[in-house]
Each structure stands twice: as structure tokens, then as C-alpha cells.
């Protein structure tokens, strides 16, 4: 299961498993948000490389207007992946509270 939604304050919330089969849904949703800023990954258990591609694409779009995505509540496992992928250099990543 993968869920993506907007909170009242305009944060994007992702939960569940973002695998290759769910990427279209995620990208379509993010493309529909004019200026996403905070992406809360607290409920995200799993992200595949295709999911990383979605974040990267969105970041490129958003950065064009000078701002960037802030990935918050990132769990340990996804932090590792972000590090391997060099995402810690191109995103603002905030770890989940341990």
C-alpha cells in the first residue's frame, strides 16, 4: 500500500511502500502540487530507486523556482539509502526522532 496526500498546512505526506508500481501515482500527485516544500516521510516504510527518481524529478522542478524540498521524519533505513544515493547533498533531510 502506498498513500500520498496534502495536509491542511500544505505538507506532502507519504506513507507505505513507494515501489516502481506506485511511482506514477506519486509523481502525478507531486506534479499537481505547485510548490511542494515539506515532504513528510514518517509513514514511509520503503522507497525503491524508482521512488528516488520521483523525488529527484520533483526536486529539479522545484529548484528551478529557487526553493527545494525538505524531506522530514526520514527513518533509519531510508536515511541509509539517501546517503548512498547522495541525497543528503541535494535535499534538506531531517531524520525521524529516534
Amino acid at each position: 500500500m502506498f498513500e500520498i496526500r496534502l495536509t491542511d498546512s500544505g505538507d506532502v505526506v507519504m506513507a507505505g511502500r513507494l515501489d516502481a508500481a506506485q511511482c506514477d501515482k506519486a509523481l502525478k500527485f507531486l506534479d499537481g502540487v505547485a510548490e511542494p516544500r515539506v515532504v513528510d516521510l514518517g509513514g514511509l516504510e520503503y522507497i525503491s530507486s524508482a521512488g528516488l527518481g520521483v523525488l529527484l524529478k520533483t526536486q529539479k522542478r522545484v529548484m528551478a523556482s529557487g526553493k527545494g524540498l525538505k524531506l522530514v521524519n526520514v527513518n533509519r533505513h531510508i536515511q541509509d539509502i539517501f546517503r548512498y544515493a547522495g541525497f543528503d547533498r541535494i535535499f534538506e533531510v531531517v531524520k525521524a526522532a529516534e
Binding site: S49, L52, L56, D80
Partner: protein, 560 residues
């Protein structure tokens, strides 16, 4: 009305009626109804008083009257009357006056009231085979004409088509019923096979039964008798069809009951053999391997009744030793008692292979057999992959060898591998459709495997990540491929081994995909290519192999 007009009228009328009959032939009427219809059409279109149809029965070389309520229906030989002559000569016989024709026989030639005048007798012939005879008698306005002969022949042709179709349908329905019965027998046979391999510490077990098209008589069984003894059976009942399937099913059932009663191997062998002698039809027998593996001394005691050669692979030397059967097939003859069982010892890394003759006797297009040598080649090459994988490789090799030759016989293989140092236990393998929709099932498979072996759940997401990446790559970059992708997982000591196999594809070595510089700024970062880079980071080892159109990627994770 001149003669020409009359002929035209008759033709039109006849044609209409013949067409009417043809229409009926297309409808799903039963044979009796349609024959009655054709008879009536013939009578009416030829302006005759009576018409009858006789069907030919080749077995009894006789003609049987249709459309009668008499039981049994009247019959005629080919010697009787104008009817018999028509059948014999396979020619239309037009008799203007029956009373002066020597061939006329009132008993068969429609002479109900002893007043038959003229007769038209037409054979039904299909590809030189006699099917029946149509007889029409007593035309209202004098003898039958040449025109009438043609009309009758046309009707007869229609009739033949229908009769043949009806007979074919009936034989197909019969075959279909037989098919269903064979399927049922097959299901029963399959249901007696072990659903899962028993877990035997220190051993890696695999067994598989690949039926040929029709039901054959192979079977196998693996039953843990207690915490250190495993019963092993491989049976092959002679012949094909439902009989052998039931024989092998019966064998399995008898053995299980005997084992449950705690009987000793040789006693079981003798009694089941003697029972089979009584039960099996003459000329039928079952070749069988019955053995008990005792993991305390790593000894297998066995009877190989006509079953062989048995494979004993020696892990230490890499040598394949082939063992002969110990006695005659079961069900062949009764024994008061059997010789004591033979024994062999499995050293670390050894494999006992029970292989039905469907493997050895598989033939290539030139008629060459796969033989023990074919098996030995595969075993030496792939024995390190674990028994499930090895078994799959043997089956692949047999299929490759046979090429387009159909599988003539059931194929059954049971492999019992004693683990050497660091040899993997039984890996679990499953096939997944080439679709992203398979990912959910893949994740579940990974999760079940890890949970089933109490492996740290923290490994789950990294393993899923790697598997997903490799799987989606196979799906994306081999769009022409159609076969399911195999995913197998195994664990040994402190290593988790995961393998994905993609069939009928071009080589693509994931380990050689270009490196990604993850330190580059965003604008220089590509969206793709990241996955394989991450896979190489996350896996402890990763290996790519390509052979026979098959891409195999194996990666390991060290367990903490």
C-alpha cells in the same frame, strides 16, 4: 406444360428441399431426427411413397435400418436384395420394375405390402467407405428418372456429411470424457506428492514430478519418520494412462500406511511387492526406490527394485557414481523374503539422486539419449547451487537437450544433498510475472522467507530494494521476453543468498552498469542509473552469469 418447364420446376422444388435439409444438418439435431428428415425429404421431392435409410456397420458387415421402433432394428447383409447390391457395388441402382429384377428381396427391399413397383437405391459413400444406403420406392408417376437419381445422390451426399460429423462429435465427446477422467486421475496422483519438503537438519532436499502429456505412473514421496530418519520413495509404474497412475498412487498409499504402522523397510518391501503382484494386471509392474536415510550415521539403506541407475555424487572428489538396481521391479513376482537392504553413506557434500527413466531416456532430434552422462554434467556444474536449483538445472538441461521433441515420459527427480561446510540449505524459489504488479507478491515472498528463518527484519527493506531494482530492470530492459522471472532465496550459516533468473533474454551485466557520481550537484544528476549503483552499495557480493539465454544475478547479504 412442356417437359423443360416441368424439369425446371422439379429442380427448383428439389433444390429448395435439399437446402431445407442442409439447414437442418447444421442444427444440433440428433442423428435419428436428421435421418428421418432426409428420408422424408427424399420421399417428398422424388414424389415417392416410401423412403428409408440404412446405416452400414463395418464391424458386423451389415446394414441396419434407421427410423424404426423395432428392437432390435431390422438388419441386412450385403448379399441381400437390391439393398445389398447397392452397398456392395457402391452404385446407384434404379429399378423400373422390382418384380422382374432378380436381385429384389422383399424381406429387405421395402416391400411392406408386397406391392413394390419401382425403386431407387443410393449408396452413401465417404472417401471410398460405405456409410449407408438410401432407398426410395414407388414413384407416383412411373419409374424414377435420371434427374431423380441426381437429386437422390445430392441428398445422400448431405446425409454422409452429417453422419460423419455426428460420428466425429461422438468420438470427440468420448475423448473429452476420457480427458476429464485422465485429468482427475492426474489430480489424484499429484495430490499424493509431498506439498513441501520435510526439513532435515544438515540436508538439502528437492523433489519434482513433471508429468508427460498423458497420465503416467511416476511418483515420489519424502516422509520424516522421526527426528533423524527420512523415508524416500521414487516409483515408476509401467505404461501410460490411468492404470499406472493409480498403481503408483496405490504404492504411495500402501507405503505410507505401512510406515505409519512402524514396519521395517524390508518387511514393507516384501509385503507391498506381494500385494502388487496380486493387484497389478499381468505384464504391469512398478520400478521403485525405497530407502530410509538415517541422519545420525548419514546412512541410506535401500531397495532399488528395477530402479536405476541411482546417482551417488561424491562431493569430495566431484565423481558421479552410478548404482544398479538391487532387485526386480515390484509387482513382478512374489518373494517370501527379500535380501537385506543395500546401504550407502553420504559424506559432506554428497548427493543421492533418484531419477526416473524419463530423464535418461529423453531424446534429441537425432534420437540420442540424455543418459547418465547428461545428468552428471549438470550435477558437476551446478551442485553448489543447492538441490532445488540443481534440480531445476537438470530439468532445463533435459528440455534443452530434447529441443522440440515432446516429453515422452514422466520425469521425476528426488535429490538428497548432505550439506558440506558452508553449503546452503534448501533455497526457496518462486516465479513472478514480468510486471510491476508482481512487486507486492515479491515483497511478501521476501518477508515470509526472512520471518520464517528469524532473520533480522532490518534486512527486509534493503533486500526488497535490491530485488525490486534487479526485477524491474529485467522487466524494463527485456521487453521481448515472456517467461516468468525466477526468484530464489536461501540461507546458510551467516549468509543470505538471493538469486534472480531471467529466461530467454540477451545478456545484460548489471555489475558493469556505469558508476554514478553521487557527489554531483542536483543539476548534473540524472534521474536514472541510480538504482544499480545503490544495489552495488547495498549488496555484500553480487555476481552476474549468462548461459543459454539465461541471465542470473546472485547477491548475498551477510547476516548480523
Amino acid at each position: 406444360m412442356d417437359a423443360t418447364t416441368k424439369t425446371t420446376e422439379l429442380r427448383a422444388e428439389a433444390l429448395l428441399q435439399i437446402l431445407g435439409v442442409t439447414r437442418k444438418l447444421a442444427a444440433p439435431f440428433d442423428l435419428a431426427t436428421v435421418l428421418a428428415e432426409i428420408g422424408e425429404a427424399a420421399r417428398s421431392v422424388l414424389h415417392a411413397e416410401r423412403a428409408t435409410i440404412w446405416l452400414y456397420e463395418p464391424e458386423g458387415q451389415r446394414l441396419v435400418l434407421t427410423g424404426t421402433t423395432d428392437v432390435p432394428p431390422p438388419q441386412a447383409t450385403l448379399e441381400q436384395g437390391i439393398l445389398g447390391a447397392t452397398a456392395r457395388l457402391r452404385e446407384v441402382i434404379n429399378v423400373p420394375d422390382c418384380r422382374v429384377d432378380a436381385r429384389f428381396d422383399p424381406a429387405v427391399d421395402l416391400d411392406q405390402d408386397n406391392d413394390v413397383r419401382c425403386m431407387l437405391s443410393v449408396p452413401f459413400v465417404e472417401q471410398n467407405t460405405l456409410v449407408g444406403v438410401l432407398q426410395v420406392v414407388d414413384r407416383v408417376d412411373g419409374p424414377f428418372t435420371a434427374e431423380d437419381e441426381r437429386i437422390a445422390e445430392t441428398l445422400a451426399t448431405q446425409c454422409v456429411v452429417f453422419i460423419q460429423r455426428e460420428r466425429m462429435t461422438r468420438s470427440l465427446m468420448h475423448a473429452d470424457k476420457l480427458d476429464r477422467e485422465i485429468k482427475l486421475a492426474r489430480e489424484i496422483q499429484m495430490s499424493t506428492l509431498p506439498a513441501t519438503m520435510p526439513r532435515v537438519p544438515g540436508y538439502d532436499l528437492a523433489g519434482q514430478f513433471c508429468p508427460a502429456d498423458a497420465t503416467g505412473g511416476d511418483t515420489f514421496d519424502l516422509v520424516a519418520l522421526d527426528d533423524h530418519r527420512l523415508f524416500v520413495l521414487l516409483g515408476d509404474a509401467s505404461g501410460h494412462g490411468i492404470g499406472p497412475a493409480l498403481s503408483s498412487t496405490q504404492l504411495t498409499a500402501m507405503l505410507r500406511v505401512s510406515l505409519r504402522l512402524g514396519a521395517e523397510l524390508s518387511a514393507i518391501f516384501t509385503q507391498v511387492n506381494n500385494q502388487l503382484v496380486e493387484d497389478l494386471p499381468e505384464e504391469h509392474f512398478v520400478t521403485a526406490f525405497l530407502g530410509v536415510l538415517d541422519t545420525d550415521g548419514h546412512e541410506v539403506r535401500y531397495h532399488a527394485a528395477g530402479q536405476g541407475p541411482l546417482l551417488h555424487f561424491h562431493g569430495a572428489t566431484g565423481e558421479c557414481e552410478w548404482l544398479d538396481p538391487t532387485t526386480f521391479p515390484m509387482g513382478f513376482m512374489k518373494y517370501p523374503a527379500v535380501e537385506p537392504p543395500r546401504a550407502l553413506t553420504l559424506a559432506p557434500g554428497d548427493i543421492l539422486g533418484l531419477i526416473s527413466d524419463g530423464v535418461f531416456e529423453a531424446q534429441d532430434s537425432a534420437g540420442k539419449m540424455f543418459g547418465p552422462a547428461g545428468v552428471a554434467d549438470v550435477v558437476r556444474l551446478y551442485r553448489h547451487l543447492g538441490m532445488t536449483e540443481l534440480l531445476a538445472r537438470i530439468l532445463d538441461a533435459v528440455r534443452d537437450f530434447a529441443g522440440t521433441e515432446p516429453q515422452a515420459d514422466d520425469i521425476t527427480i528426488v535429490l538428497i544433498g548432505r550439506q558440506g561446510e558452508g553449503v546452503a540449505d534448501t533455497p526457496v524459489r518462486r516465479y513472478f510475472r514480468r510486471s510491476y504488479d508482481s512487486l507486492e507478491g515479491i515483497f511478501q515472498f521476501v518477508e515470509d522467507f526472512l520471518a520464517g528463518r528469524s532473520i533480522d527484519a532490518a534486512l527486509r527493506e534493503p533486500v526488497c530494494f535490491i530485488v525490486e531494482e534487479l526485477f524491474t530492470n529485467m522487466v524494463k530492459y527485456n521487453p521481448e521476453a515472456t517467461r516468468d522471472i525466477a526468484l530464489s532465496m536461501g540461507q546458510s550459516n551467516a549468509t543470505l543468498t538471493v538469486r534472480l533468473t531471467d529466461f530467454d533474454v540477451a545478456p545484460f551485466d548489471v555489475t558493469r552498469a556505469p558508476q554514478v557520481d553521487v557527489t554531483k550537484p542536483l543539476e548534473e544528476r540524472a534521474i536514472g542509473g541510480l538504482g544499480l549503483h545503490l544495489v552495488r552499495q547495498m549488496a555484500d557480493t553480487i555476481r552476474y552469469e549468462y548461459a543459454d539465454g539465461r541471465s542470473t544475478i546472485t547477491f548475498t547479504k551477510t547476516l548480523g
